[in-house]
């Protein structure tokens, strides 16, 4: 009788555990919020059911060096949250065993609006972008089947995948979709510029910032289009060619000589914190960036049309422009604890 009772109890408990497990995953769906008066995002979370659990899984993966072949490098090694997810003080970043890449680590801001990824735009969808750093021999050097096997051996990840997808079977698709839930949610829309545009009470540009905004409007806005501060096009901005990397940019993807030396127009949001600048990180200061546009342009057949007319700015005007660019800093983005590595005790 006693034995029977124990069996009964064990069975009931097992059923309960199964039931709880069944209802605990996947988590509640979250709607991706589009900031007021912004365009419709390119990435559609309709095909990647967004949930807190999915985001948390993506965040855990983003910060885990397990994703690299020798478990030494994570996504966050080259994309640090407090520098708008670029690699502070690194012109070019280094992957496993200190191997160097060929382009400056880009910021990860408002990626859901991007029409393509990487400096050359070779990647067509946010979800598959991560395959590049994961498998590049000079970055994380992983092979996808081995990485999936590695993650599948981890009890922690089997649990997290179950929570996110209602299934503990780990696949490439789920890995990539959860990473996209994290990176796609790195939205920066609360800079001083945004407050001014939203006419929030008590917030206005200083005289210097306002002057800078006017200069921006007449010289930079065609390519660095508001509110995302990029038109996602590819342009040759007249940087002097380099003899070592000989990077032809977009042409590597299209094989079209007309695309030679063109790179994707980057967003200017949080630019104050995302040095060094340009596709190869060749300059460190905002003033140097502006100096390039006024006096450093090198002529070549594919030079951006917008730069054929010389931009002339006085020293004071350059300071105004820098002041405006600094209004694109979004502290609530840079210091967002939800974007940092989760602390577990």
């Amino acid at each position: 009788m006693n034995k029977n009772r124990t069996t009964c109890l064990v069975l009931t408990l097992l059923t309960l555990v199964t039931l709880v497990a069944a209802v605990s995953g996947p988590g509640k769906e979250i709607r991706f919020a589009v900031p007021q008066s912004w365009p419709k995002p390119k990435y559609d979370f309709k095909n990647n059911r967004l949930s807190l659990e999915g985001f948390e899984l993506g965040r855990a993966l983003f910060y885990d060096p397990l994703l690299s072949s020798d478990s030494s490098i994570s996504c966050a090694s080259c994309h640090l949250s407090f520098t708008a997810f670029t690699h502070a003080d690194h012109k070019l970043s280094h992957g496993i065993e200190g191997l160097r890449g060929t382009r400056n680590s880009p910021v990860l801001i408002n990626l859901a609006w991007n029409t393509s990824f990487m400096w050359d735009g070779g990647v067509n969808n946010l979800e598959v972008q991560a395959i590049n750093p994961l498998t590049s021999p000079v970055e994380m050097n992983s092979k996808l089947p081995e990485l999936i096997a590695k993650l599948s051996r981890s009890v922690k990840y089997r649990k997290l995948f179950f929570k996110a997808f209602g299934d503990s079977l780990i696949t490439t698709q789920k890995l990539l979709k959860s990473l996209a839930q994290f990176t796609g949610n790195l939205v920066s829309c609360n800079s001083k510029y945004d407050s001014v545009m939203r006419r929030e009470p008590g917030v206005r540009f200083s005289d210097r910032e306002l002057e800078g905004y006017k200069i921006f409007k007449s010289n930079c806005e065609t390519c660095h289009k508001e509110p995302l501060f990029t038109n996602f096009a590819f342009e040759n901005i007249g940087l002097a060619g380099d003899s070592i990397l000989k990077d032809t940019g977009r042409m590597k993807i299209t094989n079209n000589p007309e695309d030679s030396l063109k790179f994707k127009v980057p967003t200017l949001r949080n630019i104050e914190y995302s040095a060094p600048y340009f596709h190869d990180g060749r300059v460190n200061k905002l003033k140097e960036v502006i100096d390039h546009y006024t006096s450093g342009i090198v002529q070549s057949p594919t030079l951006a049309k917008q730069l054929e007319r010389k931009i002339i700015l006085s020293g004071e005007q350059k300071k105004d422009l820098v002041a405006f660019l600094k209004t694109l800093t979004d502290k609530s983005f840079l210091y967002n604890m939800q974007f940092r590595q989760a602390i577990s005790f």
Partner: protein
């Protein structure tokens, strides 16, 4: 008595076995489509079998993989094509991938089959996919995103490469270098019955893929472009009907 029970047990096991068998091999209105890799009629044997191409060069094939999608059957009366969804990765290394089971085809007589070699452009921009389209299958370019429609690798003494290897990874979904190709084959008569599975075996002849390729000159095509277009035009000619029953 003991013998009787053993016999009974045997009978029941056999019966159970037959029942299970019957369930597995009799899908209603089914078609089993087999892609059989060959080299000029003979079975394709990877790694060890030497073949001679149209140039007279000796070569070995190490890998043959390609996607089959948008399978359609032309019916005798209507002339309409019935599109069957799904993407199938055929891999000469794994014979289980060589047959595609299609169920739910309308009963009737069909006169032609059409399919695409490769993955359509919409699927190429659809993000992370699963199953045969899993990027981990090695048929995906990450740096210039898109599927490799077809892959042929091997080695030949005539190749002036490091290990005498040749590698053709053919992909590209953007104009002007779209390498997805459509194939249409005349079937004569293919009958799909109400109960039972018809079997259509197609040959994929690697010698035809290499028909116009001089391995001494063309041995490495790994990006979309003009050369990939030419090779795609060649592998389109690989397919022929072997048997129908």
């Amino acid at each position: 008595m003991k013998g009787m029970s053993v016999l009974l047990l045997l009978i029941s096991v056999l019966f159970w076995g037959f029942a299970a068998e019957g369930k597995l091999t009799r899908p209603a209105n089914g078609l089993k489509l087999i892609f059989k890799p060959v080299f000029r009629g003979g079975s394709l044997c990877l790694h060890t079998q030497a073949y001679i191409d149209f140039h007279g060069d000796t070569l070995y094939v190490d890998a043959l993989r390609f996607y089959i999608s948008s399978i359609m059957l032309k019916s005798k009366d209507g002339g309409n094509y019935k599109k069957i969804p799904g993407y199938h990765l055929i891999d000469a290394e794994d014979s289980t991938t060589e047959s595609i089971r299609i169920t739910g085809v309308d009963e009737g007589t069909y006169t032609a089959i059409r399919f695409q070699i490769g993955v359509d452009s919409l699927t190429n921009v659809s993000g992370a996919l699963d199953g045969d389209l899993d990027p981990a299958k090695g048929m995906y370019w990450a740096w210039n995103t898109g599927y490799i429609h077809a892959k042929l690798e091997g080695h030949a003494k005539v190749c002036p490469t490091l290990h005498q290897e040749f590698e053709f990874h053919i992909g590209g979904y953007l104009p002007p270098y779209q390498t997805i190709r459509s194939v249409e084959l005349d079937l004569g008569t293919l009958k799909i019955r109400a109960n039972g599975e018809s079997v259509l075996t197609l040959h994929c002849d690697v010698s035809k893929w290499l028909a116009e390729t001089d391995l001494a000159k063309t041995n490495s095509v790994l990006i979309p472009g003009r050369q990939a277009m030419k090779l795609a035009d060649n592998y389109k000619e690989m397919f022929s009907v072997c048997t129908i029953y």
